[in-house]
Point group: C2
DNA sequence: CCTACCGATCGGTAGG
DNA sequence: CCTACCGATCGGTAGG
Protein backbone atom coordinates (compact mmCIF):
# COMPACT_ATOMS: atom_id res chain seq x y z
CA UNK A 1 0.00 0.00 0.00
CA UNK A 2 2.76 2.41 0.91
CA UNK A 3 4.53 1.30 -2.22
CA UNK A 4 1.74 2.49 -4.48
CA UNK A 5 2.08 5.96 -3.04
CA UNK A 6 5.07 6.62 -5.21
CA UNK A 7 3.10 7.13 -8.38
CA UNK A 8 -0.22 8.24 -7.04
CA UNK A 9 0.28 11.88 -6.37
CA UNK A 10 1.90 13.37 -9.43
CA UNK A 11 4.16 11.01 -11.26
CA UNK A 12 2.00 9.47 -13.93
CA UNK A 13 0.48 12.41 -15.73
CA UNK A 14 3.62 13.60 -17.46
CA UNK A 15 5.47 10.51 -18.54
CA UNK A 16 4.12 11.25 -21.99
CA UNK A 17 5.47 14.79 -21.84
CA UNK A 18 8.83 13.42 -20.68
CA UNK A 19 8.93 11.18 -23.72
CA UNK A 20 8.15 14.09 -26.04
CA UNK A 21 10.85 16.18 -24.43
CA UNK A 22 13.47 13.43 -24.64
CA UNK A 23 12.46 12.69 -28.21
CA UNK A 24 12.84 16.33 -29.18
CA UNK A 25 16.39 16.36 -27.88
CA UNK A 26 17.34 13.13 -29.61
CA UNK A 27 15.65 14.03 -32.89
CA UNK A 28 17.43 17.39 -32.84
CA UNK A 29 20.82 15.87 -32.08
CA UNK A 30 20.82 12.68 -34.15
CA UNK A 31 17.95 13.16 -36.54
CA UNK A 32 14.65 11.30 -36.58
CA UNK A 33 15.79 8.35 -38.66
CA UNK A 34 18.94 7.78 -36.64
CA UNK A 35 17.09 7.93 -33.34
CA UNK A 36 15.90 4.66 -31.98
CA UNK A 37 12.89 3.90 -29.85
CA UNK A 38 15.39 2.28 -27.52
CA UNK A 39 17.30 5.59 -27.31
CA UNK A 40 14.16 7.40 -26.29
CA UNK A 41 13.12 4.71 -23.82
CA UNK A 42 16.53 4.74 -22.19
CA UNK A 43 16.45 8.54 -21.88
CA UNK A 44 13.30 8.33 -19.77
CA UNK A 45 14.23 5.09 -17.95
CA UNK A 46 11.78 2.80 -19.61
CA UNK A 47 12.08 -0.58 -21.30
CA UNK A 48 12.24 -0.58 -25.06
CA UNK A 49 8.62 -1.50 -25.67
CA UNK A 50 7.11 0.92 -23.20
CA UNK A 51 7.01 4.13 -25.19
CA UNK A 52 4.39 2.39 -27.34
CA UNK A 53 2.06 2.51 -24.38
CA UNK A 54 2.00 6.29 -24.91
CA UNK A 55 2.40 6.52 -28.69
CA UNK A 56 1.13 4.23 -31.40
CA UNK A 57 4.13 4.74 -33.66
CA UNK A 58 7.47 6.51 -33.88
CA UNK A 59 5.92 8.84 -36.44
CA UNK A 60 3.38 9.92 -33.85
CA UNK A 61 6.21 10.94 -31.54
CA UNK A 62 7.72 13.08 -34.27
CA UNK A 63 4.36 14.63 -34.95
CA UNK A 64 3.95 15.50 -31.28
CA UNK A 65 7.37 17.11 -31.15
CA UNK A 66 6.91 19.10 -34.34
CA UNK A 67 3.46 20.38 -33.46
CA UNK A 68 4.51 21.34 -29.96
CA UNK A 69 7.49 23.18 -31.43
CA UNK A 70 5.25 25.02 -33.83
CA UNK A 71 2.88 26.02 -31.06
CA UNK A 72 5.66 27.27 -28.82
CA UNK A 73 6.95 29.64 -31.50
CA UNK A 74 3.57 30.68 -32.85
CA UNK A 75 2.37 31.43 -29.34
CA UNK A 76 5.31 33.60 -28.42
CA UNK A 77 5.51 35.50 -31.70
CA UNK A 78 1.73 35.83 -31.97
CA UNK A 79 1.65 37.43 -28.53
CA UNK A 80 4.38 39.84 -29.55
CA UNK A 81 2.50 40.73 -32.73
CA UNK A 82 -0.69 41.36 -30.80
CA UNK A 83 0.84 43.52 -28.10
CA UNK A 84 0.48 46.78 -30.05
CA UNK A 85 2.85 49.69 -30.49
CA UNK A 86 4.59 51.17 -33.52
CA UNK A 87 5.37 48.81 -36.40
CA UNK A 88 8.98 49.05 -35.33
CA UNK A 89 8.22 48.05 -31.76
CA UNK A 90 6.06 45.17 -32.88
CA UNK A 91 8.68 43.91 -35.30
CA UNK A 92 11.46 44.09 -32.72
CA UNK A 93 9.31 42.22 -30.22
CA UNK A 94 8.60 39.52 -32.79
CA UNK A 95 12.28 39.12 -33.63
CA UNK A 96 13.13 38.73 -29.98
CA UNK A 97 10.28 36.29 -29.34
CA UNK A 98 11.21 34.09 -32.27
CA UNK A 99 14.87 33.99 -31.32
CA UNK A 100 14.16 33.37 -27.66
CA UNK A 101 12.06 30.31 -28.44
CA UNK A 102 14.51 29.08 -31.04
CA UNK A 103 17.59 29.41 -28.87
CA UNK A 104 16.30 28.84 -25.35
CA UNK A 105 17.57 25.85 -23.44
CA UNK A 106 14.15 24.28 -23.26
CA UNK A 107 12.66 25.09 -26.65
CA UNK A 108 15.56 24.75 -29.02
CA UNK A 109 15.32 21.01 -29.54
CA UNK A 110 11.69 21.38 -30.52
CA UNK A 111 12.62 24.13 -32.94
CA UNK A 112 15.52 22.23 -34.48
CA UNK A 113 13.34 19.16 -34.99
CA UNK A 114 10.66 21.32 -36.52
CA UNK A 115 13.11 22.92 -38.93
CA UNK A 116 14.99 19.82 -40.01
CA UNK A 117 12.89 16.69 -39.59
CA UNK A 118 9.59 17.73 -41.15
CA UNK A 119 10.16 15.55 -44.17
CA UNK A 120 9.87 12.42 -42.08
CA UNK A 121 6.29 13.19 -41.12
CA UNK A 122 3.53 11.23 -42.76
CA UNK A 123 1.68 13.19 -45.47
CA UNK A 124 -1.26 14.19 -43.27
CA UNK A 125 0.92 15.57 -40.49
CA UNK A 126 3.16 17.28 -43.03
CA UNK A 127 0.16 19.05 -44.52
CA UNK A 128 -0.84 20.19 -41.06
CA UNK A 129 2.65 21.52 -40.42
CA UNK A 130 2.70 23.44 -43.70
CA UNK A 131 -0.65 25.00 -42.87
CA UNK A 132 0.69 26.15 -39.49
CA UNK A 133 3.82 27.47 -41.12
CA UNK A 134 1.90 29.47 -43.71
CA UNK A 135 -0.20 31.08 -41.01
CA UNK A 136 2.94 31.85 -39.08
CA UNK A 137 4.72 33.46 -41.99
CA UNK A 138 1.64 35.53 -42.77
CA UNK A 139 2.16 37.12 -39.36
CA UNK A 140 5.58 38.27 -40.48
CA UNK A 141 4.36 39.42 -43.84
CA UNK A 142 1.79 41.64 -42.14
CA UNK A 143 4.39 43.07 -39.78
CA UNK A 144 6.55 43.93 -42.77
CA UNK A 145 3.65 45.55 -44.59
CA UNK A 146 3.11 47.80 -41.58
CA UNK A 147 6.81 48.66 -41.49
CA UNK A 148 6.72 49.56 -45.14
CA UNK A 149 3.71 51.83 -44.71
CA UNK A 150 5.47 53.60 -41.86
CA UNK A 151 8.59 54.05 -43.99
CA UNK A 152 10.72 51.84 -41.75
CA UNK A 153 11.76 49.31 -44.35
CA UNK A 154 12.81 49.62 -47.97
CA UNK A 155 11.18 46.49 -49.30
CA UNK A 156 8.47 44.23 -47.90
CA UNK A 157 8.38 41.66 -50.69
CA UNK A 158 8.03 37.93 -50.11
CA UNK A 159 11.65 37.38 -50.98
CA UNK A 160 12.74 39.78 -48.27
CA UNK A 161 10.59 37.88 -45.79
CA UNK A 162 12.27 34.66 -46.87
CA UNK A 163 15.71 36.20 -46.37
CA UNK A 164 14.55 37.21 -42.91
CA UNK A 165 13.34 33.71 -42.11
CA UNK A 166 16.70 32.39 -43.24
CA UNK A 167 18.69 34.79 -41.09
CA UNK A 168 16.49 33.93 -38.10
CA UNK A 169 16.34 30.18 -38.48
CA UNK A 170 19.99 29.80 -39.38
CA UNK A 171 20.91 31.04 -35.89
CA UNK A 172 20.19 27.49 -34.73
CA UNK A 173 23.31 26.44 -36.63
CA UNK A 174 25.73 28.84 -34.97
CA UNK A 175 24.36 30.20 -31.70
CA UNK A 176 25.96 29.00 -28.50
CA UNK A 177 24.60 30.04 -25.11
CA UNK A 178 28.06 30.98 -23.90
CA UNK A 179 29.24 32.45 -27.18
CA UNK A 180 29.50 35.98 -25.88
CA UNK A 181 26.37 37.24 -27.58
CA UNK A 182 23.01 37.51 -25.90
CA UNK A 183 19.84 36.71 -27.75
CA UNK A 184 18.78 40.29 -27.24
CA UNK A 185 21.91 41.59 -28.93
CA UNK A 186 21.39 39.27 -31.88
CA UNK A 187 17.81 40.44 -32.25
CA UNK A 188 18.87 44.07 -32.16
CA UNK A 189 21.56 43.58 -34.78
CA UNK A 190 19.13 41.90 -37.12
CA UNK A 191 16.68 44.73 -36.62
CA UNK A 192 19.34 47.27 -37.47
CA UNK A 193 20.33 45.35 -40.56
CA UNK A 194 16.79 45.25 -41.92
CA UNK A 195 15.21 48.51 -40.84
CA UNK A 196 16.05 51.92 -42.20
CA UNK A 197 17.77 54.33 -39.83
CA UNK A 198 15.30 56.32 -37.80
CA UNK A 199 14.54 59.68 -39.39
CA UNK A 200 15.14 62.57 -37.04
CA UNK B 1 35.45 -10.89 -77.50
CA UNK B 2 32.96 -8.55 -79.04
CA UNK B 3 31.09 -8.69 -75.74
CA UNK B 4 33.95 -7.13 -73.83
CA UNK B 5 33.82 -4.10 -76.11
CA UNK B 6 30.86 -2.75 -74.21
CA UNK B 7 32.85 -1.57 -71.22
CA UNK B 8 36.20 -0.99 -72.78
CA UNK B 9 35.86 2.44 -74.29
CA UNK B 10 34.31 4.68 -71.63
CA UNK B 11 31.83 2.97 -69.39
CA UNK B 12 33.82 1.94 -66.37
CA UNK B 13 35.57 5.11 -65.25
CA UNK B 14 32.54 6.92 -63.87
CA UNK B 15 30.43 4.32 -62.11
CA UNK B 16 31.86 5.72 -58.93
CA UNK B 17 30.82 9.24 -59.90
CA UNK B 18 27.35 7.94 -60.74
CA UNK B 19 27.08 6.48 -57.26
CA UNK B 20 28.14 9.76 -55.68
CA UNK B 21 25.61 11.66 -57.76
CA UNK B 22 22.76 9.26 -56.93
CA UNK B 23 23.75 9.28 -53.28
CA UNK B 24 23.69 13.08 -53.20
CA UNK B 25 20.14 13.11 -54.49
CA UNK B 26 18.93 10.45 -52.07
CA UNK B 27 20.74 11.93 -49.06
CA UNK B 28 19.24 15.32 -49.89
CA UNK B 29 15.73 13.98 -50.33
CA UNK B 30 15.47 11.36 -47.59
CA UNK B 31 18.41 12.15 -45.35
CA UNK B 32 21.52 10.05 -44.83
CA UNK B 33 20.16 7.75 -42.14
CA UNK B 34 16.94 7.00 -44.02
CA UNK B 35 18.77 6.25 -47.26
CA UNK B 36 19.65 2.66 -47.80
CA UNK B 37 22.58 1.17 -49.68
CA UNK B 38 19.92 -0.71 -51.58
CA UNK B 39 18.30 2.62 -52.57
CA UNK B 40 21.57 3.86 -53.95
CA UNK B 41 22.35 0.60 -55.73
CA UNK B 42 18.93 0.54 -57.37
CA UNK B 43 19.35 4.14 -58.53
CA UNK B 44 22.43 3.19 -60.51
CA UNK B 45 21.22 -0.29 -61.54
CA UNK B 46 23.46 -2.34 -59.36
CA UNK B 47 22.90 -5.19 -56.96
CA UNK B 48 22.77 -4.34 -53.30
CA UNK B 49 26.30 -5.41 -52.45
CA UNK B 50 28.01 -3.76 -55.40
CA UNK B 51 28.41 -0.18 -54.20
CA UNK B 52 30.88 -1.60 -51.68
CA UNK B 53 33.18 -2.37 -54.57
CA UNK B 54 33.57 1.41 -54.92
CA UNK B 55 33.24 2.53 -51.29
CA UNK B 56 34.31 0.81 -48.13
CA UNK B 57 31.40 2.10 -46.06
CA UNK B 58 28.24 4.15 -46.30
CA UNK B 59 30.00 6.86 -44.33
CA UNK B 60 32.61 7.10 -47.07
CA UNK B 61 29.84 7.80 -49.57
CA UNK B 62 28.55 10.64 -47.42
CA UNK B 63 32.06 12.00 -47.09
CA UNK B 64 32.50 11.96 -50.86
CA UNK B 65 29.22 13.81 -51.39
CA UNK B 66 29.89 16.42 -48.74
CA UNK B 67 33.44 17.15 -49.86
CA UNK B 68 32.42 17.37 -53.50
CA UNK B 69 29.64 19.77 -52.50
CA UNK B 70 32.06 21.89 -50.56
CA UNK B 71 34.48 22.02 -53.48
CA UNK B 72 31.79 22.97 -55.97
CA UNK B 73 30.75 25.98 -53.93
CA UNK B 74 34.21 27.02 -52.81
CA UNK B 75 35.43 26.82 -56.38
CA UNK B 76 32.67 28.98 -57.80
CA UNK B 77 32.69 31.59 -55.06
CA UNK B 78 36.46 31.64 -54.82
CA UNK B 79 36.65 32.40 -58.54
CA UNK B 80 34.14 35.22 -58.13
CA UNK B 81 36.12 36.62 -55.22
CA UNK B 82 39.34 36.53 -57.22
CA UNK B 83 37.98 38.15 -60.35
CA UNK B 84 38.64 41.71 -59.19
CA UNK B 85 36.55 44.85 -59.46
CA UNK B 86 34.97 47.12 -56.88
CA UNK B 87 34.02 45.56 -53.52
CA UNK B 88 30.41 45.83 -54.65
CA UNK B 89 31.05 44.00 -57.90
CA UNK B 90 32.98 41.28 -56.14
CA UNK B 91 30.29 40.84 -53.51
CA UNK B 92 27.50 40.66 -56.08
CA UNK B 93 29.47 38.10 -58.07
CA UNK B 94 29.97 36.01 -54.94
CA UNK B 95 26.27 36.12 -54.07
CA UNK B 96 25.35 34.98 -57.54
CA UNK B 97 27.97 32.24 -57.59
CA UNK B 98 26.89 30.85 -54.21
CA UNK B 99 23.22 30.84 -55.17
CA UNK B 100 23.85 29.35 -58.59
CA UNK B 101 25.67 26.38 -57.11
CA UNK B 102 23.15 26.00 -54.31
CA UNK B 103 20.09 26.08 -56.54
CA UNK B 104 21.29 24.61 -59.82
CA UNK B 105 19.72 21.37 -60.99
CA UNK B 106 23.01 19.51 -60.77
CA UNK B 107 24.60 20.97 -57.67
CA UNK B 108 21.71 21.44 -55.30
CA UNK B 109 21.63 17.90 -53.94
CA UNK B 110 25.29 18.16 -53.04
CA UNK B 111 24.62 21.46 -51.31
CA UNK B 112 21.59 20.22 -49.40
CA UNK B 113 23.50 17.17 -48.17
CA UNK B 114 26.38 19.39 -47.16
CA UNK B 115 24.10 21.71 -45.21
CA UNK B 116 21.97 19.12 -43.46
CA UNK B 117 23.78 15.81 -43.13
CA UNK B 118 27.17 16.89 -41.84
CA UNK B 119 26.44 15.54 -38.37
CA UNK B 120 26.45 11.98 -39.70
CA UNK B 121 30.07 12.20 -40.77
CA UNK B 122 32.67 10.43 -38.69
CA UNK B 123 34.72 12.79 -36.50
CA UNK B 124 37.70 13.01 -38.84
CA UNK B 125 35.61 13.89 -41.87
CA UNK B 126 33.56 16.33 -39.84
CA UNK B 127 36.71 18.13 -38.75
CA UNK B 128 37.78 18.35 -42.37
CA UNK B 129 34.41 19.81 -43.33
CA UNK B 130 34.56 22.42 -40.58
CA UNK B 131 38.02 23.43 -41.72
CA UNK B 132 36.74 23.90 -45.27
CA UNK B 133 33.76 25.83 -44.02
CA UNK B 134 35.88 28.18 -41.94
CA UNK B 135 38.08 28.96 -44.92
CA UNK B 136 34.99 29.53 -47.01
CA UNK B 137 33.40 31.91 -44.54
CA UNK B 138 36.66 33.84 -44.24
CA UNK B 139 36.23 34.63 -47.93
CA UNK B 140 32.94 36.29 -47.14
CA UNK B 141 34.30 38.08 -44.13
CA UNK B 142 37.02 39.61 -46.25
CA UNK B 143 34.52 40.70 -48.91
CA UNK B 144 32.48 42.39 -46.22
CA UNK B 145 35.52 44.12 -44.79
CA UNK B 146 36.21 45.57 -48.22
CA UNK B 147 32.62 46.72 -48.55
CA UNK B 148 32.82 48.41 -45.20
CA UNK B 149 36.00 50.25 -46.12
CA UNK B 150 34.38 51.48 -49.32
CA UNK B 151 31.33 52.65 -47.38
CA UNK B 152 28.99 50.18 -49.07
CA UNK B 153 27.77 48.41 -45.96
CA UNK B 154 26.79 49.65 -42.52
CA UNK B 155 28.17 46.76 -40.50
CA UNK B 156 30.65 44.03 -41.32
CA UNK B 157 30.54 42.16 -38.01
CA UNK B 158 30.57 38.39 -37.71
CA UNK B 159 26.91 38.37 -36.79
CA UNK B 160 26.01 40.16 -39.98
CA UNK B 161 27.96 37.57 -41.93
CA UNK B 162 26.02 34.84 -40.15
CA UNK B 163 22.74 36.50 -41.03
CA UNK B 164 23.93 36.61 -44.63
CA UNK B 165 24.83 32.92 -44.58
CA UNK B 166 21.38 32.18 -43.22
CA UNK B 167 19.58 34.19 -45.88
CA UNK B 168 21.68 32.49 -48.56
CA UNK B 169 21.51 28.92 -47.34
CA UNK B 170 17.86 29.07 -46.42
CA UNK B 171 17.00 29.55 -50.10
CA UNK B 172 17.41 25.80 -50.42
CA UNK B 173 14.23 25.47 -48.36
CA UNK B 174 12.00 27.63 -50.54
CA UNK B 175 13.46 28.09 -54.02
CA UNK B 176 11.70 26.33 -56.87
CA UNK B 177 13.13 26.44 -60.40
CA UNK B 178 9.75 27.38 -61.83
CA UNK B 179 8.73 29.64 -59.00
CA UNK B 180 8.75 32.80 -61.08
CA UNK B 181 12.01 34.15 -59.66
CA UNK B 182 15.36 33.70 -61.33
CA UNK B 183 18.48 33.09 -59.30
CA UNK B 184 19.84 36.36 -60.63
CA UNK B 185 16.83 38.26 -59.30
CA UNK B 186 17.19 36.65 -55.90
CA UNK B 187 20.86 37.56 -55.77
CA UNK B 188 20.12 41.16 -56.71
CA UNK B 189 17.42 41.52 -54.06
CA UNK B 190 19.72 40.21 -51.37
CA UNK B 191 22.41 42.63 -52.50
CA UNK B 192 19.97 45.52 -52.27
CA UNK B 193 18.85 44.44 -48.84
CA UNK B 194 22.38 44.35 -47.45
CA UNK B 195 24.23 47.12 -49.24
CA UNK B 196 23.69 50.81 -48.72
CA UNK B 197 22.16 52.74 -51.60
CA UNK B 198 24.79 54.00 -53.99
CA UNK B 199 25.80 57.55 -53.23
CA UNK B 200 25.29 59.78 -56.27
C1' DC C 1 30.48 -6.26 -60.14
C1' DC C 2 26.99 -10.36 -58.85
C1' DT C 3 25.36 -14.19 -55.71
C1' DA C 4 24.32 -15.58 -51.52
C1' DC C 5 24.48 -14.73 -47.13
C1' DC C 6 25.29 -13.16 -42.03
C1' DG C 7 24.81 -10.91 -37.55
C1' DA C 8 22.86 -6.96 -35.64
C1' DT C 9 19.37 -3.92 -34.99
C1' DC C 10 14.97 -1.95 -35.58
C1' DG C 11 9.81 -0.79 -34.99
C1' DG C 12 6.29 -2.88 -33.10
C1' DT C 13 3.20 -6.43 -30.48
C1' DA C 14 0.95 -10.05 -27.24
C1' DG C 15 0.09 -11.03 -22.86
C1' DG C 16 0.28 -10.01 -18.53
C1' DC D 1 4.44 -0.23 -18.07
C1' DC D 2 7.57 -4.82 -18.35
C1' DT D 3 8.83 -9.39 -20.49
C1' DA D 4 9.74 -11.79 -24.26
C1' DC D 5 9.62 -11.94 -28.71
C1' DC D 6 8.87 -11.51 -34.05
C1' DG D 7 9.50 -10.38 -38.91
C1' DA D 8 11.78 -7.16 -41.65
C1' DT D 9 15.51 -4.66 -42.93
C1' DC D 10 20.07 -3.00 -42.77
C1' DG D 11 25.29 -2.46 -43.56
C1' DG D 12 28.59 -5.23 -44.90
C1' DT D 13 31.33 -9.55 -46.61
C1' DA D 14 33.24 -13.97 -48.91
C1' DG D 15 33.99 -15.99 -52.95
C1' DG D 16 33.84 -15.98 -57.41
Amino acid sequence: MAASRKSVIKDEPNRRAEIVRAASRLFAEKGYAATTIRDIAKAVDMQSGSPFYHFKTKHDMLKAVVLEGMEIITGAVGAAAAQGGTPRDVFDAMLLAHLEQLLAEDGRHFAATLLHEGRHLDPAALAELIEHKDRYEALWQKAMRDLKRAGDIADDSHVTRLFLMGALNWTVQWYHPNGGRTVKQIARQLSQLLLLPRTR
